[in-house]
């Protein structure tokens, strides 16, 4: 009697269990690649096969830049696959350029280490470390930009070139069950090796910035990796034209603060900072002080749409027009730019028009 009620669920449960066992067995025997050799540049690693290159390297403490967490959307994790990786997968194809294909460049988050294989990565990536750090302070710079200071716990020191960035790992909160990595430029003194300073603008609906603004408190522990990036001061005698908007001030600040008085004398930097109205401006006093200390440096804040009660007497208009007005001839200049893609493209265009060699314009584009 009871059997007729119990039989159907038991049958389905039995079927499901049998299939689950088949899947587990298949995983156990088919997906076990054993220990394989992964050659990275000239170093040989013995690793457990079966995972993606990105996560295998992470276990070996080599950190490849990745912003999307291995979902094949950001295309930061490109590496050169020398041998052992087979054909391009449909998931990577849309993100690889023709040049990538001819040079065997692949996405580290998609290709898997299945047998002895070899990849090449830029040498700088070997110096990237994972840091545990504690939030030291969080202060408001404007209504939507905050200044974060992290004290490094282990390893206790970071060595980086001013202008480079780190990746910050957010923790799950509220409805967000994933932890994601996002890139932020360091804005502090590179000589203060035991801490990392960031300027972060709140992105509406942004997973990571919402976490940093709403959930992160002083004293919390966080994970950061770095340093990454090829935005840093190039050695030359050319004049520096720096242009930034919003939190794009961060890498420019790191670069300028790290320069010696002699360098500032020689390079005569001029820093254009674009904002909409006075409420988007920050650290103006700090830059005025810097200006007073270094007569060769000039700070030009420019407002594109000052409010009537802003009482603004400084430069107004689009940042490109202000740059053209202050640096009419820029033949001997070098550009350092950081900001939104739209602003950057316009600035690169105007600098080229003013005589800067495009090769000598360095920038950090917000993705």
């Amino acid at each position: 009697m009871y059997l007729s009620y119990l039989l159907p669920p038991l049958a389905i449960a039995g079927l499901a269990t049998a299939l689950a066992i088949i899947i587990l067995l298949a995983e156990r025997y088919l997906m076990d690649y054993g220990e394989v050799e992964l050659k990275v540049n000239d170093k040989l690693y013995k690793v457990k096969g079966g995972s993606t290159v990105l996560s295998t390297l992470k276990q070996e403490k080599i950190f490849i830049p990745s912003a999307c967490g291995g979902r094949a959307t950001c295309a930061y994790c490109k590496v050169t696959a020398v041998k052992g990786f087979g054909e391009v997968l449909p998931t990577e194809a849309p993100l690889l350029t023709k040049e990538d294909l001819t040079k065997n460049v692949r996405l580290a988050c998609q290709i898997k280490v299945k047998n002895n294989c070899e990849i090449r990565i830029p040498d700088e990536l070997f110096s990237i470390r994972e840091f545990r750090a504690r939030v030291d302070s969080i202060t408001d710079l404007t209504y939507d930009i905050k200044h974060f200071i992290f004290r490094l716990l282990s390893p206790p020191e970071i060595e980086y070139k001013p202008g480079q960035y780190i990746q910050f790992q957010s923790q799950p909160y509220g409805d967000v069950s994933d932890s994601v990595y996002r890139a932020y430029s360091m804005c502090g003194l590179a000589s203060e090796r035991n801490q990392v300073e960031l300027m972060v603008r709140l992105v509406p609906e942004g997973i990571c910035t919402t976490y940093m603004f709403k959930h992160l408190k002083a004293g919390n522990e966080v994970i950061i990796t770095g340093p990454y990036g090829d935005f840093y001061l190039r050695d030359s005698n050319r004049r520096m034209v720096c242009i930034a908007g919003g939190s794009g001030m961060a890498p420019i600040r790191a670069i300028l603060l790290a320069m010696t008085p002699e360098e500032i004398e020689r390079r005569r930097p001029i820093f254009f900072f674009g904002a909409r109205s006075r409420k988007d401006l920050f650290l103006v006093d700090e830059w005025r002080e810097f200006e007073a200390r270094h007569p060769a440096f000039k700070f030009v804040p420019a407002l594109s749409g000052p409010e009537p009660d802003d009482d603004w007497t400084g430069a107004t208009g689009r940042i490109t027009d202000v740059v053209a007005q202050f640096v009419p001839d820029a033949k001997d200049c070098e550009g350092y730019l950081c900001g939104s893609p739209g602003m950057l493209n316009a600035c690169v265009e105007i600098l080229c028009k003013l005589g800067v060699d495009e090769e000598q314009i360095y920038y950090d584009k917000f993705a």
Binding site: L7, I12, A26, L30, M31, G86, L89, P90
Partner: protein, 197 residues
Amino acid sequence: MQEIGAFVIFFASIFTSNILLTNFLGMCSYLSVSREIKTAWGLGIAVVFVMTITSIANYVVYYNILVPLKLEYLEYIAFIIVIAALVQVVEMIIERTSDRLYASLGIFLPLITVNCAVLGAALFLIIRKYDFYQSLAYGAGSGIGWMLAIMALAGIRAKMSRRSKVIPALEGPGIVLIITGIIALGFIGFSGIVQIN
């Protein structure tokens, strides 16, 4: 059991009783993955693969487990579990054995788990009381038929994207459904040859 040869069923399920064009099953992936011939081919091959294997597996599960226990009414749940599990195993086998095949099929396999044509084929072969070989022929034939239909559509869409001006209101799924209707009419032309049902 019906007295139709397995080969006849194989032929009929490709042309005259094409599962997509006569039953309109598996439409979602058919509409969304038919922009390029290359990806349509990848998905088509994956469907042939999965449909053949799951048809046999579901035949075995139905006649050897559900029928003896008099639990035929559980066929929907049982078939769905079998399809989902088998697709996983097939994916692992392909990943292990052939990089080439995995590169072209890899991302399509999980997509097929929820393709209703796969479940539809399994249900039809039970309703029509096919025997083992007929089921095998029907599964493989339906898969090939589905692939044929999506390849035909992808070819037409690829040509259209270069040459035709579609009125804005019909762009995308609209015009695709009209084209599918015309292809289906074309396939009716085969129905004089052989008929199963």
